[in-house]
Symmetry: C2
Subunit: 383 residues, 2 copies
């Protein structure tokens, strides 16, 4: 048995698609590129491929490091690699940056061939279903007729669910972690505050800030700070920061000012600043809107059981007790609908302190769950 | 028995204080005004006075309507009035706009006599303890040596608690609704995001926007939207808005844009716009900072029991099950500390769907609780 380790240095590939892609909105994208990383080898009968779908701010860079930056570790590196739960000695794992994102795939930052300028505000609204359609074309090119599994956390889990509905024959397993069948009003509300912060930044210029050589960093910073609060649990924040003062002892005098006083303020500002350096504001709008719009039961008059009926995959769902963004109740809605349709469902509710972010962390029970589940898949596909 | 009704048209009064007020920060305010409303009559032995302390965005205008605007109903009009739980036929009720707020009392918008210009960013940081000291001076002027009760919800409850600690002999009852002994890291985090939105609005001009004849409305709008999400419960938002589309049926086609699509977006934008029209940005910073800093157990090394020991009032605390800003656990911390000091404490946990905002609403159990408690006080003071 190989020691668990990293997939090492990975090089992203770009796939070009020339056929227009019709979108849910009625608009279409004429031609587009998707940036992709793959890990492990596709086996002879092409049965060991796993698609990893990303959430709001992540990308195709799921595992390993990049040649230019050894600190640039993939966002799910603890999950994907040799000897890891999704074992790249057995599986061929694919990470893809979604259409409309800002890490190499075609999106608002890309040059619109029709104008020679960045798409900006003219880039169409894209949905989870559109992403899945784009990913299906990628599967065609990769020669994957049927995924051993499509997996993801949060918004990534929504893509996995949508795969099971849109392309039931093309995946054996659907793995959706810390996900939901649709956003709640409160979820949409948080998204809308973040979008308002971005939109109302004077540097946003209605989405065409590229032409002004500027980035609406103030808005992005606030958007990320809000998001970050919803990714952590209250208990986790209390544990990590409490009321600790920045650079001082808890009992020290307050400084009585509006600059950073508490450690948690410093942390949030740091997260906001970092995010504003690398993330595209139009992509933030686009991806939060895709989240808002996701609601597979909409076409079945709100009936989630009917919505899930086309699915034939086996399912693994997992949720974390302290996740208040997509709490376990939301995963249970999906589980109950799947049971009602007679699907094969495993569900784990994991008592972990780290809120929504827990799906990215290496809680031992969570890791064991995933390891065991993918072990079963590996046996099924003789990987 | 009089029919329960409104106190009618009320006229605010302004009280001028010329002696400097030393603040917790070490700074002082040389002279200041407080805007006040009173309802009912102070009885002969001056034993029936009730002080109502306000939370973030409220004011001295607790009950009734103002002469200029019959729709301008006081923020706790369902609680205070003839025949209401705090019965103005029996109690002399005082509402005061706090120092640093923006409804008439001296604050960042006021002219600094030393410069002839608005204080703006130079207005000192003010704490809950400072407010209580200013309110105690008001009590002196009103001839109230001892309040029958000091009461408030949320931040108003913190002032009531601080009264019990700072001036134990000057109140018979302390009524703190939906409050907390100090903010959690998550509470501070939400405040900091709101402040960042305001501070980073280019129209903020470092707090001296008055000189530019402009108001940082974009920042205020985002700040209020964030706040508003934390005042409502998730269930309440789901009930009120769900995923309803603006101006259309739930099953209608999405419009696939970034403008208002969902009802909850429309509601939040409306709340944000309205708030930005009337609230002062520096006051928002000042009051959220007062919230952050409130921590009476800080001077006792984190020991809340020791912090509450000076108090001699009787206490009523109440909390609402769906309040996730200051959930019942936070009130229970106070109750337990008070029990440990041997104080007389009543505590009610009210199963109400409306989150933190429930303290402002007329849930029948909450109303009954308050009515009964103030009935007892009225008997004690023979009001």
């Amino acid at each position: 048995m190989l020691k668990s380790g990293s997939v090492g240095v990975v090089t992203p590939q770009s796939f070009r698609f020339d056929a227009p892609l019709a979108l849910a909105s009625g608009a279409s994208v004429d031609g587009y590129e998707l940036t992709v990383e793959t890990y492990g080898q596709l086996n002879a009968d092409r049965s060991n491929a796993v698609l990893v779908c990303h959430a709001l701010n992540a990308s195709h860079h799921v595992a390993g490091i990049t040649a230019d930056d050894p600190t640039n570790i993939g966002w799910w590196d603890n999950m994907v690699g040799p000897g890891k739960p999704v074992d790249t000695n057995r599986f061929f794992v694919v990470g893809v940056n979604n259409l409309g994102s800002c890490f190499g795939s075609t999106g608002p930052m890309s040059i619109n061939p029709a104008t020679g300028k960045p798409y900006g505000a003219s880039f169409p609204v894209v949905t989870v279903e559109d992403w899945v359609n784009a990913q299906a074309r990628l599967a065609d090119v990769l020669g994957v007729e049927r995924w051993a599994a499509v997996m993801g956390g949060s918004l990534g889990g929504m893509q996995a669910l949508s795969w099971a509905i849109q392309y039931p024959e093309r995946l054996a397993h659907c793995v959706a972690i810390a996900s939901a069948p649709k956003l709640s009003a409160q979820n949409i509300a948080f998204n809308e505050v973040a979008r308002t912060a971005i939109r109302s930044d004077p540097d946003f210029h209605g989405g065409d800030y590229y032409a002004h050589g500027i980035v609406p960093k103030r808005g992005l910073r606030v958007a990320r700070m809000i998001g970050h609060i919803t990714y952590l649990s209250g208990a986790d924040m209390a544990e990590k920061f409490g009321r600790a003062l920045r650079d001082r002892e808890v009992g020290d005098e307050y400084r009585f000012h509006y600059d950073i006083e508490f450690e948690v303020e410093s942390y949030l500002r740091y997260q906001g600043d970092k995010f504003a350096e690398y993330f595209d504001a139009n992509t933030y709008l686009l991806i939060t809107r895709a989240l808002d719009y996701f609601d597979p039961a909409r076409v079945t008059g709100g009936d989630l059981v009917a919505a899930m009926r086309p699915a034939s995959a086996k399912f693994l769902l997992a949720a974390f007790t302290t996740d208040w963004r997509f709490p376990p109740e939301r995963s249970r809605e999906i589980v109950e609908a799947l049971i009602a349709t007679g699907r094969d469902v495993s569900y784990a509710e994991i008592d972990a302190p780290h809120g929504h972010d827990a799906f990215l962390l290496d809680d031992p029970r969570y890791q064991r769950l995933m390891r065991n589940y993918f072990e079963t898949i590996a046996e099924e596909v003789r990987a």
